[in-house]
Amino acid sequence: MATIHHGGQKYELQPGESVLDGLLRNGVAAAHACKSGSCGSCMMRVLEGELPSSSQPGLKDSWKAQGYFLPCVCVPNGDLTACEVGSDARVPARVTSVDYLSADVLRVGLRCEAPFEFQAGQYLTVISQKGLARSYSIASLPDESSIELHVRLIPNGRMSGWLSKGSPLGAQVQLQGPSGECFYVPGRSEQAMLLVGTGTGLAPLYGIVREALRSGHSGDIHLVHGALRPAGLYLRAELAALAAAYPKLSYTPVVLNGEGESGVVTGSIDAVVAEKFSSLAGWRGFVCGDPGIVRSLKKKLFLAGMPMRDIYSDAFLPSA
């Protein structure tokens, strides 16, 4: 049986248990969010002992070499001594603005206090001073002065509740990441692109579209944003203006419920997309937001001929 040494204490792991689960079971307030080896918010550093190779998925080589690992996917074969990550692996940032994009979507501005490199469309994990970790997609471009996030208010949501009601302005948070492969890769500039997001799934797409336009993407770009009701369609004026300025960009707002709103399509987003885009061989696609819709849309795009390796997606899974 493996023993974990952490913070001067010893914890016995149960057979098959991950280091993170073992620590949480013993009441250690270890930061975590996805619990599946992608968001990086639980990252720790090994001081002694041997890591299974599967415990460092997606980490930079330089981090691997320093013994960083993800305790949520680490089921060790023997004893480990691990510590919290140092300041070199996380970037401190301050909340500099919070405003409403719609009745239930906040725009949160963050100013980093150290360089934080990312690609438009990737996501980061915000870790509050209390150790609460939540992942958010980045809506801003890398050279903009602050990082912009679109945060949906979740009833009784801890992070979204703090951001909306807890006077977060000026507070320091730690940023982990960036993570994810949902971003614009330059090249194949003539390729047609379809971007579909529901709710705050618009956030990464807002970055990706602007990045593609700025990189001189010459193929058509179709952006489809879905919401339950018209009131959920935020950034509508900005997106309509962007589409007016770039003839190759089209913007289609879609709502599930709501009649007669001009310029808005009514229907379920996957049906609307499947009908409007039925032949997608050679296209590139981005799909973000609600996990169930992301899954369904990926399948529809693929069956309409989009190559699987050209479909990029982020499912906004709730924290585990």
Binding site: R295, K298, K299, F302, L303, M308
Partner: protein, 129 residues
């Protein structure tokens, strides 16, 4: 006269085009699988990105390429599906779709026959017989 006896015959995998052929086949094959009412339900709740990797493993194996699956692995890997009712008719459907995919890619019939034979050899393990 001296006859060269050591002409190197390319393997089936090489004749098909190796890794590149797997890459070219995987999306075509997977689209057929997902839209075939006889078998699509076996693939319903599997993550598509992960599933694509598994389809590539399947194709590499059927194309006679390098792989490290044992018969026991095939048994274990499909046991969940056997419990769902996987039987000979589903197996035949997969072999049929595989052949149709290769045909579309312009692969010669005798090579398709060899691929089908490799797939056939896994039948007892895949079906847990």
């Amino acid at each position: 006269m001296h006859i060269m006896t050591s002409t190197i015959t390319p393997t089936l995998f090489e004749q098909l085009g190796g890794e590149a052929a797997v890459e070219a086949a995987v999306d075509k094959f997977y689209r057929k699988v997902l839209t075939d009412d006889r078998i699509s339900h076996f693939f319903e709740d599997v993550d598509m990105d992960r599933q694509r990797g598994k389809q590539k493993a399947f194709l590499t194996m059927a194309f006679g390429g390098p792989h490290s699956y044992s018969g026991k692995d095939m048994r274990a890997g499909h046991a969940r599906l056997v419990a769902m009712g996987l039987n000979d008719s589903h197996f035949d459907a997969v072999v049929e779709l595989l052949g149709a995919t290769l045909k579309e890619m312009g692969v010669a019939d005798d090579l398709i026959g060899q691929v089908a034979a490799i797939a056939e050899s896994t039948r007892p393990d895949v079906l847990g017989k």
